[in-house]
């Protein structure tokens, strides 16, 4: 019986091994080597922990980490704030809730490439409609948004907020819909205002849901690549070089494969830790 069970699971386990374990183990091995497919001198020889030592002293990598952290913190914080407001607003709608919820899904179902291209055209300094709108409001000069490091970074954050705020809003809406009516009614009977009910009763009830949503968004935002690649390519300078763009450049522009693998392993470790925190949190809540 035991063998039959293993046999039934075998095909999926083999596929999982091939698509997950092999690249991971290969990257791990590569991170201890010096290998570039375009440099005969970097022939795959074993160099121990040199790549990891390099990673900790690489100021450009440090800059990419700072940009990534700044981006994740800003984008996710804004999404949480706006998502919360939007979710509460949705929960108060009666007739148009379904329609508004469907409309809110639109940014999320667009592929990252399309979102990047949309903002790229919109923010074109000569003919972009977003540029024209921002210029007519007097918010930017004639050089447009992407010309300056601050502007380009802000554009990335806004793009992410536009795409993913609905996700937080929907999570909030789901949490509010599932909130127990009895406590809300009790608060109403006690004479609480609408604001007090949301602030003191409903928000504490949906805090776990918001926590999960933030963790999901954070793990996603850390891996941001497509939109940045299309919109800014990591520039100007290193203003929008997030971790994944930096790794892409190391591995597939400079072809420094082993150092790229080292950075990939480090990112994997960070994302795994975040995921572990997420699951631990979920399990605790489940147990409670």
């Amino acid at each position: 019986m035991r063998w039959a069970r293993i046999g039934m699971q075998a095909p999926s386990l083999v596929i999982l091994m091939l698509v997950l374990a092999f690249p991971l183990v290969y990257s791990l091995l590569l991170s201890f080597q010096s290998y570039s497919p375009v440099d005969p001198a970097a022939d795959g020889r074993w160099i121990g922990l040199d790549n990891y030592a390099r990673m900790f002293t690489d100021t450009q990598f440090g800059q990419a980490i700072l940009v990534t952290l700044g981006y994740v913190v800003l984008a996710v914080a804004l999404e949480t704030l706006l998502g919360l407001v939007l979710g509460i607003w949705l929960s108060r709608l009666v007739r148009t809730r379904r329609l508004m919820t469907s409309l809110l899904l639109l940014p999320m179902i667009a592929t990252p490439l399309v979102v990047g291209l949309m903002f790229s055209f919109g923010l074109n300094p000569q003919f972009g409609y977003m540029t024209s709108a921002l210029q007519s409001l007097g918010l930017i000069g004639e050089a447009g948004v992407l010309d300056s490091p601050v502007g380009a970074f802000a554009a990335l954050v806004v793009m992410d907020v536009w795409e993913w705020t609905p996700f937080i809003a929907l999570m909030v809406l789901a949490g509010l819909s599932a909130a127990p009516e009895a406590q809300i009614q009790a608060a109403q009977l006690d004479g609480c205002s609408t604001f007090q009910i949301y602030w003191h009763v409903m928000l504490p009830m949906i805090r776990p849901v918001i926590g999960v949503a933030i963790l999901f968004r954070a793990t996603e935002a850390i891996r941001m690549f497509d939109q940045v690649y299309i919109l800014t390519g990591g520039g100007p300078g290193s203003a929008t070089t997030v971790n994944d763009i930096f790794q892409y450049r190391v591995s597939f522009t400079a072809f420094d494969m082993s150092y790229g693998a080292t950075l990939g392993i480090a990112t994997f470790a960070v994302v795994m830790t975040l995921t572990w925190v997420l699951f631990r949190y979920l399990n605790r809540r489940g147990a409670a």
Binding site: P37, V38, D39, P40, Q60, P125, Q126, G233, A254, F255
Partner: protein, 465 residues
């Protein structure tokens, strides 16, 4: 015999006939045009840059097949994706591509890693199998050396002859009111720039706001005296190299030492940055695509750009400046200095994993044969042979042709060593830093010097680049 057996037999026969469709038995020897039909039936896969040259070759490939019996499939990809696909194919020995058109600055990386066939034995072995339409001496020598010579051997032939030149609005330069105004403002005659000082003066002079006059007409939109590529991208580095070469700076000295932090290199980046004042807004997020579009739209008066975009200027479907553009040498620092353009050539290399290197060589020779090269010129591409650039019919219709040939003859190459991809990545970052003001040109190029010194390590000074 049952009906099923007859049907199976017929199908098998049909399949066999189909399979032998490309064999020499089906070929008409009189249609060979001097090309050998010995490799008939071979199937070649070609990976080429996404340019007009490649599109034209793809259109013409059936002609090659009808003469030689060699089937050709041409796939195209843009710069970055092509390099990635080629590297993946080479490094994993997959042999998906028999012929790969590569940017020449990857020659050291690919030839040095043993991924490309040495052409000399192929040329010798197939000397009597190519048509008289292909003549080695017809290929522009400086271009061929840059595109394919590495460590004393040739690893390919030029697949196109992209080269930089100065493009400017001749109609505005010939306008009498503009000439008089320029003379008043600068004290010398308005003419195509030969020095960088003149280039900057002209850029400043022609930068006008909407509502101002230009050549007797009131502008509805602003016009800019220059356009340039300043994005964190190869385009910005290649543009900067044009300034750097003539300022006496650049990446490597002739002795193979890094010269990025020299005064000449720093001054050239400073100069490039100063032109931004007269360029369309947002030039720091522009590549060669935006430069071409801005010239075509007539919103910029001059630029340092690639010869293979000249055809787009003269295309009435895309351009508002047809017949208004003229082309000149890359300016110099001081009058009397030698003009130097920058090579942007691509190279047909044959993979060492090619299914049939001889058949692949025949394809490359055909692509560089006189009629094909002329056709490439006629259809708006950039050929690599003297016969095409000196063809009287082409000269009549292509105003950029004489300048392209002059630029090809005075062009210099960017480094081609195996570490160039890593060096280029650093240069993209630091040139961008210098242009957007994240660092001064001195700081940016000093950082580039330090980073690249770390990359090259004890290989400095480079002996082959």
């Amino acid at each position: 015999m049952s009906r099923r057996v007859v049907l199976a037999g017929s199908l098998t026969g049909a399949l066999l006939l189909t399979a032998c469709g490309g064999s020499s038995d089906d070929l008409d020897p009189s249609a060979a045009g001097g090309w050998s039909q010995e490799y008939a039936g071979t199937e070649l896969n070609v990976l080429a840059e996404a340019t007009l040259n490649s599109d034209i070759l793809a259109q013409m490939a059936p002609e090659f097949t009808s003469m030689t019996g060699i089937e050709v499939t041409i796939e195209t990809a843009p710069f970055a994706q092509l390099v990635q696909r080629a590297t993946l194919d080479f490094s994993t020995s997959q042999g998906d591509f028999d012929v790969v058109s590569i940017p020449y600055d990857y020659l050291g990386a690919y030839a040095g890693s043993g991924y490309l066939e040495d052409f000399a034995p192929l040329m010798e072995a197939n000397a009597d199998k190519v048509s008289d339409d292909f003549r080695q001496e017809n290929v522009i020598p400086g271009l061929w050396d840059t595109a394919a010579q590495w460590d004393g051997a040739y690893y390919g032939m030029p697949s196109n002859s992209a080269v930089t030149m100065m493009m400017y609005r001749q109609d505005l330069f010939e306008d009498e009111s503009e000439q008089a105004a320029f003379m008043d403002a600068y004290g010398y005659e308005l003419a195509p720039a030969t020095t960088w000082e003149q280039y900057a003066d002209i850029a400043k002079f022609f930068t006008r706001d909407a509502g101002e006059q230009l050549a007797g007409e009131t502008l509805s939109e602003p016009v800019y005296g220059v356009t340039l590529a300043g994005k964190r991208h190869e385009a910005a580095v290649f543009e900067w190299l044009n300034y750097a070469n003539s300022f006496g700076g650049g990446v490597l000295s002739p002795e193979g030492e890094l010269i990025l932090d020299t005064d000449e290199s720093v001054d050239s980046l400073d100069y490039m940055s100063s032109l931004g004042e007269f360029a369309p807004p947002g030039y720091t997020s522009a590549t060669w695509d935006e430069v071409t579009a801005q010239l075509q739209q007539g919103i910029a008066v001059q630029a340092i750009s690639w010869g293979d975009t000249a055809g787009a200027m003269e295309n009435p479907d895309q351009s508002a400046v047809v017949g208004k553009m003229a082309y000149g040498d890359i300016p110099v620092l001081d009058e009397g200095d030698e003009h130097h353009a920058l090579h942007g050539a691509w190279t047909y290399g044959i993979s060492t994993e090619a299914s049939d290197a001889d058949a692949a060589y025949l394809f490359v020779a055909w692509a560089l044969s006189e009629p094909v090269q002329k056709q490439i010129g006629e259809m708006g591409g950039v050929p690599a042979t003297f016969s095409a650039f000196e063809d009287p019919e082409l000269l009549e219709t292509l105003p950029s042709w004489p300048q392209q040939l002059r630029s090809l003859e005075n062009a210099v190459a960017r480094p081609r060593n195996a570490e160039w991809p890593q060096m280029l990545d650093q240069l993209m970052l630091q040139v961008s830093n210098g242009l957007v003001g994240e660092a001064t040109p001195q700081e940016a190029l000093t950082d580039a010097q330090d980073e690249i010194t770390g990359i090259l390590g004890d290989k400095l000074p480079l002996t082959e680049f």
